[in-house]
Symmetry: none
Subunit: 175 residues, 4 copies
DNA sequence: GATGAATGAGTATTCATTCAT
DNA sequence: AATGAATGAATACTCATTCAT
C-alpha cells in the first residue's frame, strides 16, 4: 500500500547514514523497507542510482532553503541568515548532510554541488558590496568555518549550539 | 624486500583514501603491495585490524606533532601554532586526515580521538588563561572552524591557503 | 494494434535467433513488441510455451512446403524439388531453421520433427522405386548432406549458393 | 587433490552440452565438480572465459588431429582421411563438436575456427591438384556435406555409420 | 615469514511469473 | 484483453579469510 518507492528511499537514506553506503546491502534495504529486493531495481536502475536520487533530492531541498535569503539586500540580515542556515539543521535535511559528509571523501576529485556554488557566489557578492577588498577570502573563511561547525554539530562535538551561534553572530556584528 | 608489513600499510592507506575503505578489497591491496593476499592476515588479524592500525599510527603521529606546541605558555604563540597545525598539513599526515574524514561519518556515535581531546583541553586552558569568560565556547569555535578549513583544504575548495591563514591569524591578532 | 499475440511471436522469434533463447528475457520481448510483460503470459502459459508454439508453427509451415512435392512420382523431379527445398530457404521459414538449429543441440536425445520423418520416408520410397538396394543409406546421405549444406547457407559459409545447387543437381543427374 | 581446474573444465563441458551454455549455472558446475563456486572464478575470469577456454582447447586438439593428414600428397589418401576425420568422432572431441554445434547459432555473424580454415584450404588445394576447374565449389560441397553427416552422427539420426562412410568413400572413389 | 589455492557467505542485479486493477 | 507493480528465486561474480605447504 502507498508509495513503496518513497519507503525504499527513506529506509536507504537512513541505512546509508548509519552504516555507510558501501556497507549497506540492497538486501538489507529491502528487508527494512518490507519490500522485495527486486523492487528496488524496478524503481532505481542501480544501487548507485538510488544514492544519486537521494543526493539530488536533498540538493533540491537545499536550494529551496537557500532561496529564502539569497536575494537579501541588507548585508547584516544576509549574514545572520546564512549563519542560521548552517546552525539550524532542519530535521528533513539532516540525513542529506550526513550522507554528503560521508561521500565527500571517497571520490578523489571533489565537485561542489549546485547549492554550494550558489551560496559561495552570494556570499562573495555581499562581502564585495560591504567594501571588503579580499571578499573571496572572507567568503571562503565564513563558509569553511560554518561548514566545520555544522559538521561539529552533526557529530555532536558542539555542546551548546545556541550559544555558539550567538558567539559567531557577535563576531560578525549581526546580532 | 625488507618491511612488507609497512608496504602493506602504505598501500592500504593510499587505496582506502582513493576508493574508500569498503570499496577496497584485500586482494587489491595485496596486488598493489606485491605480496600475497595471505600475508595481510599474517600481519593484521583483520581488514578492520589493518584499518585500526592505520588510524592508531596516524593518531600517534598527530600527538607527536601536537606535542611541539602544547605546552607553549605565550597565548599568541600557542594560537599561531595551532593555526599552523591545521593549515599546514604535513605530507605524512595527509592520508590520516583523509581517512579519518571518510570514516567519521559512518559510525553513528562519534568518539573523539585522544589527540582531539588533548588539543581541546589545551585550547580551553589557553583561552581561560587569556581571561575569556566563555573559554569553552571560544575553544569550540576555533577548533570547529579550523577543522572546517582543513577539510576545505583537503578537498581543494580553498584556493589560496597561505592568504587564508594570514586572514585567520589576523582575526586572532597573532600575526 | 490488432493482433498483439502475433506481434509477440514475431518479435520473440527474431530475438531468440539473434541472442539465443536463454539470453532473451521476457522483458525484452515485451519492450520490443511494445506490449506489457504480463500480456506474454496471457497468450502463452510460459516462456517455454511461447518457444514451443514458435517451433510448432514453423513445423506446420514446413509440412505445407513439403506437401508441394511429396507426392511427385517422377524421381528426377522429386529429387530436384527436394534439393530446391533445402537450397532455397524461404524468408518466412528462415527464422524457424535458425531456431531449430540452435535448440537441436541442447537436449541430449534428439527427436526428429514430423516433417523430418515425412521427408525421410518419401526420399526412401523414391530411392527404393529407383531400384537402389541400399535406399535407406542413400536417403540418409542425401538428407544429412543437404542439411549440412543448408546449415552452411544459414551461417554464410557457402559463397555461391546457386552454383553449388547446380553442382549437387548435376551429381544426382537431375539437371 | 589433483587438478581441480581440469575437473571444473570437464564438468562444465559436460553440462554445457547437456543443458546448454546459458542454462548451466556456475553454481551447478561447482556442485557437480565438488568445488566451491568461487574457485571457478579463480581459475577462469568469467563463465564466458571458461567457455572460450573449452573451445580453444578443443580447437587445438582439432588442429592436432588434422595435422595427421593435412600434408598428404596422394589425393585419394587425403580424401579418404578427411572422410575418416568427419566420420570417426573421437570420444575426446565429441564434446567439442557438440559444444560448437550448439554455439554456432547464437552469434549472428559466424566466424570459422582456425582448423576450419586450414581444412578448407587443404581440400581446395587437393581438388585443384586433381584438375577440378570449380575446386572451391567441390571443396565446399564435400565439407558442408561431411559436416551435415557429422551432425547427423552426433544427433543419432545416422543409423549405420560404417556403411554410410563406405558409401561416401565409394562416391569419391577412394575405397 | 610467505604463498596461493580454496572456501562459503555475501554482493548487486535479473529473471520468469503473478495478480490486483 | 491489457497493464505494470510486485515478487522470490536464481544469476554471475566478489569478498574476507583460512590453511596446507
Amino acid at each position: 500500500m502507498g508509495d513503496r518507492r518513497a519507503k525504499i528511499a527513506d529506509v536507504a537514506l537512513l541505512l546509508f547514514i548509519e552504516r555507510g553506503y558501501h556497507a549497506t546491502s540492497t538486501r538489507l534495504i529491502a528487508q527494512e523497507a518490507c519490500v522485495s529486493e527486486g523492487l528496488i531495481f524496478r524503481h532505481y536502475t542501480n544501487k548507485e542510482g538510488l544514492l544519486k536520487d537521494l543526493l539530488a533530492e536533498g540538493g533540491q531541498q537545499m536550494i529551496f532553503e537557500i532561496a529564502g535569503f539569497i536575494s537579501e539586500h541588507d548585508p547584516k540580515v544576509f549574514i545572520s541568515s546564512i549563519i542560521d542556515f548552517f546552525f539550524d539543521v532542519s530535521e528533513e535535511l539532516l540525513g542529506y548532510w550526513r550522507l554528503k559528509a560521508q561521500l565527500e571523501w571517497i571520490k578523489t576529485v571533489w565537485e561542489p554541488e549546485e547549492w554550494e556554488r550558489i551560496l559561495r557566489d552570494a556570499v562573495e557578492r555581499v562581502f564585495r558590496g560591504m567594501g571588503y577588498s579580499k571578499y573571496e577570502l572572507e567568503a571562503g573563511l565564513l563558509l569553511e568555518s560554518l561548514t566545520g561547525i555544522r559538521y561539529g554539530i552533526l557529530r555532536g562535538s558542539v555542546e551548546d549550539v545556541r550559544e555558539l551561534k550567538a558567539l559567531v553572530k557577535g563576531k560578525y556584528k549581526v546580532i
